[in-house]
């Protein structure tokens, strides 16, 4: 068990080092540019592609939730599809039964998933490494069964059909573009919240528990509390993503939340880089587009192609795309910074 936690620990730690003010300004400029591009993008694309990108962002939020738990706190979950389903069904039931407007379903969905996550996180305190993976795997398998069983609430096998949200009249936006903007806003908030938490006291405690649980406890970190908090925070993100997906797709049914969804999240997380925030977006793209590519390559065995893609990613980049590229970029930036300061130093006297 110790070996396993140590193995997770070897992934690069994502604590950001704030460089010089110049680097800070550049970072801000790049972020603003990226946001501007993301806002402008849907107006250059067809509605269907806009919808695909909306799903990418929703998956990215879910994967971000999983990254917090698995990447930063070292708890492997194969069951986040279950929490995604819980969020989706909360939103669906609130909208369908009680006529709650779609935007108002996100907070309760997040709250319910936070509570579920904390409840699940309590027994999970005693499980480590592969054990937790097994429990959550069992949860992922049981999710569709449970959804079918409580059919008075969930509509059973048929699921629930939802009315898609109508964009505000004055803006003249199409429905897909409006949904895209909502998802983008949610993703930006999620990234901001995650960054703040992970760079702060809580995030440092999570990383400490992941890397050296015993030392962390000895330093006075309340291991149980922080691990449960990691579980709750993680499922909150995933639950909100689930609610967004129910709103965007306009339909929930038990079969959409099979084991495969949970596996996709973990794969997206691993491919993007578990201990990174940006990796979640790469993961979102992987989840949304790789199955389609696989289908294009081979009609007969698309999941074999998907599986091969997973294997290839893990062999070439065991720390994920962002996790593998980032140290390299950081080194490059440091080298340029050093060279620049040397040049400046040479010129000033």
């Amino acid at each position: 068990m110790e070996k396993n936690s140590a193995a997770i620990a070897r992934t690069p730690v994502g604590i950001e080092r704030h460089g010089t003010t110049a680097a800070g300004t550049w970072r801000w400029a790049a972020t603003l540019l990226a946001i501007a591009i993301a806002v402008a993008l849907p107006f250059t694309l067809r509605n269907y592609h806009v919808f695909e990108l909306t799903l990418v962002m929703i998956y990215a939020i879910a994967v971000l939730g999983l990254n917090i738990l698995t990447g930063y706190n070292g708890q492997i979950s194969l069951g986040h599809g279950g929490f995604f389903a819980a969020g989706a069904y909360t939103a669906a039931i609130l909208m369908h039964r009680y006529g709650v407007p779609y935007w108002a379903t996100l907070p309760p969905a997040g709250l319910i998933c936070f509570v579920l996550g904390v409840l699940f996180g309590l027994p999970a305190l005693r499980f480590e490494g592969p054990y937790l993976a097994l429990v959550t795997l069992a949860m992922a398998l049981a999710t569709p069964q449970l959804l079918k069983y409580f059919d008075t609430w969930t509509g059973g096998q048929q699921g629930i059909n939802l009315v898609k949200p109508v964009p505000p009249a004055g803006l003249g936006l199409s429905q897909d573009r409006w949904l895209y903007l909502i998802a983008l806003l949610a993703l930006l908030i999620a990234i901001r919240v995650a960054t703040n938490m992970l760079n702060g006291r809580t995030g440092r405690a999570w990383v400490a528990i992941r890397d050296q649980p015993i030392a962390a406890a000895a330093m006075g970190i309340d291991t149980a509390r922080y691990k449960t908090l990691a579980f709750g925070t993680s499922t909150l993100f995933t639950g909100v993503a689930g609610a967004l997906s129910a709103i965007a797709i306009g339909y929930v049914s038990p079969e959409s939340y099979s084991l495969f969804l949970s596996v996709s999240f973990l794969v997206g997380s691993a491919v993007g880089g578990i201990s990174t925030i940006g990796g979640a977006i790469v993961g979102g793209f992987f989840i949304q587009f790789v199955p389609n590519f696989a289908n294009d390559i081979s009609d007969a065995a698309p999941w074999a192609i998907y599986g091969l893609a997973m294997l290839l990613c893990m062999y070439t980049m065991p720390h994920g795309v962002v996790g593998s590229v980032k140290p390299w970029l950081t080194r490059l930036a440091q080298r340029t910074a050093k060279r620049r300061s040397q040049n400046d130093g040479g010129r000033s006297p």
């Binding site: 993976a133 429990v135 069992a138 949860m139 015993i214 578990i274 065995a301 599986g307 091969l308």
Partner: protein, 289 residues
């Protein structure tokens, strides 16, 4: 009372299947410290190989033997080619690789053999025995499992390869210094696991019918069994698998509807881990600070 005993015996038959798969899981866990999520699909694929051979006209037991050999070689090959590169990678990479294998096996089986459900011949006639307490088929399944167990025990206890494998699993570094080819031992562990899984698949296929998704539920129960017995203990895996089989059958008959079968497995796994985290026969992991 008679009905209860009947349920217990058919639970034992199902349990011996879970026990076999659990044993395969333990085998891999002990040698390479991995949980092999593809174990069920590997067994399913082996079963399809047996099915092809039987359909080609081979007698059942000949097909069985050939399948075991092919599975053994396949398991070794998977370890050497696919698992080895992630042996020292983060644990998540290894988990993703075995899940990738699961998808590949499932998809390739569906592609070659289609997803339609196939009949699989049973080597044992389906006749009731002892006042219908147990059928000959169930008895046959239990007997095959027991024979396999005894053979494995003899192999690990009395052969030098078995001893070398135990040494490699317990302390790879020291084993290597003694001249044991640790990598090869790990590969043999995977090969054995694949062969054990194949046996389980062939035994369960006449009951569940053969299709690419056949082993999903079985794998979950096998996990529950392995955990109950303690994931490091082969004997524990067998006992755990049997207990899970009987419990599943009794709960399914007397307590709750069968559409919540997987939920029962989930509850069982959580209960075991909360109250007996090392299982019945597992050893507690002592950590040095």
């Amino acid at each position: 009372m008679h009905e209860l005993l009947q349920q217990v015996f058919s639970g034992l038959a199902a349990g011996s299947i879970y026990a076999s798969v659990a044993l395969a899981l333990v085998m891999i866990y002990r040698s390479t410290d991995l949980v092999n999520f593809a174990q069920g699909e590997m067994a399913m694929f082996s079963t399809y190989i047996a099915w092809t051979l039987v359909n080609a006209g081979l007698p059942f037991w000949a097909a069985f033997a050939i399948t075991l050999i092919v599975s053994f070689a396949g398991g070794m090959l998977i370890e050497r080619v696919l698992i080895r590169p992630v042996e020292n990678a983060p644990v998540l990479a290894a988990v993703v690789v075995t899940i990738g294998l699961l998808l590949i096996f499932n998809s390739v089986a569906g592609w070659i053999y289609s997803y339609t459900v196939q009949d699989f011949p049973s080597p044992f006639p389906d006749r009731p025995l002892f006042h219908a307490l147990i059928t000959t088929r169930d008895l046959g399944v239990i007997a095959v499992t027991l024979i396999m167990l005894v053979l494995l025990f003899l192999f690990f206890r009395f052969t030098s390869t078995g001893l070398a494998m135990r040494a490699a699993a317990q302390n790879p570094a020291s084993a290597r210094l003694c001249g044991i080819r640790v990598g090869r031992m790990f590969a043999i562990g995977w090969g054995l696991a694949a062969a054990i899984g194949a046996t389980a698949g062939i035994m369960v296929a006449p009951v569940l019918f053969l299709d690419p998704n056949m082993m999903g539920g079985v794998l979950l129960y096998a996990f529950a069994g392995a955990l109950l017995g303690g994931i490091t203990s082969p004997v524990g895996a067998v006992v755990g698998g049997l207990i899970v089989g009987v419990t599943e059958n009794l709960v399914g008959t007397y307590l709750i509807a069968s559409q919540l079968k997987l939920t029962v497995a989930l509850a069982l796994i959580i209960l075991v881990l909360v109250f007996k985290p090392n299982g019945l026969f597992g050893t507690a992991i002592v950590r040095r600070v």
